[in-house]
Amino acid sequence: MTKKQSVLFLAFFILIAASVLPAQTPPAVFEQPLLVTSAGQSSGDAQIALQLTKKASLTATLSKAGTSKDLENQKTLVLVLGASMKGLGSAGLDTNKEKERIRELVAEAKRKAIPILAMHLGGAQRRGELTDEIINEFLPAAKMAIILRSGNQDGLFTKICKSTDIPLVEVDKSLDAVEPLKKIFKK
């Protein structure tokens, strides 16, 4: 085998290995405790996120319509992206008020140097005009994102995460997010 052949073989091997091995979960970058809140009032999705953090043995609090005050003593903010008209109605919020609430929360997190983990657990069904507006506006503020693959069929998350250098973890089922959660939070 010539040197050129060896290099080509090695490159081929690396390419195959990269395509077969699962995407690497980024290293532990977040700390506990964490505040889980909805961005768009799809409250079921926020509850799922809380349940996943429990399964990952993390110390988390859910405040579906959390405000800056709720960030007191928190070390991570989890934004669960997804709009629900029903949820907004139940929370007595309209689109503008909800966006304003999240803007203030994100700004406060930034002031306090609290990193943001974005999650999207609604899948394809939880995509739509308003959800997309929320994703476009708030995903770039995240340090990392964990999403259901079915919610990224059009590559919106990939596109934003690539352009803003945000590590993106895609999972097939919401329960599959437990392992990455365990890995990205410091003990």
Partner: protein, 572 residues
């Protein structure tokens, strides 16, 4: 070599055989785009339902010689297994039956009843927590009527046994099926309630979290419950050992139901309410099902308007109908109750001259702003009195059945080991203890259901119904107008963009619309004073209508099923 040649020859012959076999003409299947209007076609019989497995269960019953009532109950059972979030044996409903032989229409009312310990102020007294007590606590559970109603219908108008009607549902619950996007999304929306009331280990969650599309949902406990009911009859539910499980589950969540409440439950067979619209006669259940009542009221008001001239979903059309809905809601709030206990001025509400009075209050150039109810002599009428299934059999018998456990996944309370969900229909009572619809012992809460059968020149033309709470009568009214005034085909009428508005205490509420309506239309409506609330393009908020149209001249049946849910038709 010879062997290879021989094998090749056999394969080739087989291919030729398949290719040359006379092919059955195939009807085109539903289009790729689930929202594109598509009418299912049948010649002898048709079933429409909110889940394909349920529609198939009904069709199998028709093909095996069952009549429309048998097929409706088989479909209803199957819906409990395949669409458990919308209806089931823990709920109730209304069935309209048309008997072809006698041309008689009758209604079976198996709406839930309030337990004996109910008090008028029981929800008002909970203050800010009243929504939780009406929807998620044990006090939310009305005495279920579903099984009693199905059993009554089968015994009087069917030909099959309860066990035969339940057979396909048992198979579905046992073997399971991959959930679709609708199930998954609703499962996520109602997750908190399920987690709280059914618990992490419930079959309504998958490993403690909601189902994703493609996950297989099974409910072996429901299968076992249905098998017992089929074998032992409905007494095992109302008086046997399922009853204490229901009571224990309700009471564990602070409810008030007793064994006596369950044992005392009876369905009622009543005369249908009837009204006319442009030469069609509409039969629908009377109150406490008020959907049909207010469909008739809406159509009466709209009957003299130049709807076709205004144009479908034009600003003028939407404005006038929305205003009519707001006036109807004022009457609804003032008068609707259980007619077994409350005098309702039905004749006046349905009178054409009362419709004119309402019409006269509606201005073409702006919203009224205040919506008063009609003032009637309250004693002029005697005290008489949410998924939808439609079935027609080969003899022309028809069933329109709307049934529900109220909110999706009901209360989320599951009696131990039974696999079925309990309703939250006590939420349909008013919180106002002075309302005609205040919660009181033994009463049935007002329902928005409105299954209907439409007749033209003495012959059935259409059966229709929908879930959707307060949106039922506005949505069904729009579908009927789409067909009668705008000449749409059935599914075109069902899929067309919808709108809804209402009033509370005489005050205007938003005009909710599907954003498929063009922006200039919305701008024109804003200019008339409407505050627009945009929903999803095909929003479940507006219901999930199912219908069957009978085209006698063409000797075909058209089935229309709403893509806002997972509706399908199955004909033969």
């Amino acid at each position: 070599m010879k062997q290879a040649f021989a094998i090749g020859l056999v394969v080739w012959a087989a291919v030729l055989g398949v290719a040359c076999r006379p092919q059955k003409a195939r009807l085109p299947g539903p289009p790729q785009d689930r929202h594109a209007p598509f009418n299912y076609i049948g010649a002898k019989g048709m079933v429409v339902a909110a889940h394909p497995l349920a529609a198939e269960a009904g069709l199998a019953m028709l093909k095996s010689g069952g009549n429309a009532v048998d097929a409706a109950v088989a479909t209803a059972f199957a819906l409990n297994a395949a669409e458990p979030f919308a209806s089931g044996i823990g709920g109730g409903g209304f069935m309209v039956v048309y008997q072809a032989a006698t041309k008689k229409v009758t209604v079976i009312n198996f709406r839930e009843k309030a337990p004996a310990a109910t008090t008028p102020a029981m929800f008002r007294d909970k203050g800010e927590k009243q929504a939780e007590w009406r929807q998620e606590r044990g006090t939310a559970v009305g005495v279920p009527g579903m099984l009693a109603g199905w059993d009554y219908a089968l015994a009087k108008y069917g030909t099959k046994r309860l066990s035969e009607a339940a057979a396909r549902a048992i198979e579905i619950a046992e073997t399971g099926f991959p959930v679709g996007p609708t199930f998954s999304q609703i499962n996520k929306d109602e997750y908190e309630k399920l987690l709280k009331n059914a618990g992490e280990g419930t079959c309504y969650l998958n490993g403690g979290v909601p189902y994703e599309p493609g996950d297989v949902y099974k409910n072996p406990e429901l299968a076992a419950t249905l098998r017992r009911i089929g074998r032992e009859g409905i007494d095992v539910f109302y008086k046997g050992d399922i009853a204490p499980k229901i009571v224990a589950a309700v009471r564990a969540k602070d409810g008030i139901m007793s064994l006596q409440d369950l044992a005392a439950y009876r369905p009622a067979e009543v005369e249908p309410l009837q009204g006319t619209y442009k030469g069609y006669t509409i039969y629908t259940p009377p109150p406490p099902a008020t959907g049909g009542l207010h469909i008739l009221q809406l159509l009466n008001i709209a009957e003299s308007w130049p709807l076709a001239d205004w144009g479908h979903n034009s600003p003028a059309y939407i404005h006038h109908l929305s205003e009519a809905m707001r006036f109807i809601f004022a009457d609804k709030e003032r008068y609707d109750g259980d007619p077994d206990f409350v005098a309702m001025p039905l004749a006046r509400i349905l009178a054409k001259d009362y419709a004119k009075e309402v019409r006269d209050k509606i201005r073409p150039d702006k919203t009224a702003g205040a919506y008063g109810y009609g003032k009637f002599d309250p004693v002029q009428d005697k005290k008489e009195n949410t998924t939808h299934v439609g079935v027609i059999d080969k003899d022309g018998n028809i069933v329109a059945l709307t049934q529900s456990i109220n909110d999706f996944f009901g209360t989320g309370i599951v009696p131990e080991g039974t696999g079925f969900l309990l309703n939250d229909h006590m939420a349909d009572f008013s919180t106002d203890p002075d309302s005609p619809n205040a919660p009181r012992p033994d009463r049935r809460p007002v329902s928005n259901m409105g299954p209907l059968i439409m007749v033209k020149d003495g012959r059935p033309f259409l059966t229709l119904g929908s879930p959707g709470g307060t949106r039922i009568f506005p949505s069904l009214g729009q579908i009927i107008i789409n067909i009668v005034d705008f000449g749409m085909s059935l599914d075109e009428a069902i899929e067309a963009p919808r709108f809804f508005s209402y009033s509370v205490d005489g005050k205007v509420r938003d005009l909710s619309v599907e954003p498929r309506l063009p922006e200039p239309t919305l701008a024109a409506l804003r200019a008339l004073g409407h505050k627009i609330a945009l929903k999803e393009p095909y929003d479940k908020y507006f219901g999930g209508a199912q219908g069957i149209m009978i085209l006698r001249d063409k000797k075909i049946l058209l089935g229309g099923a709403d893509s806002r849910r997972d509706g399908v038709g199955a004909g033969y």
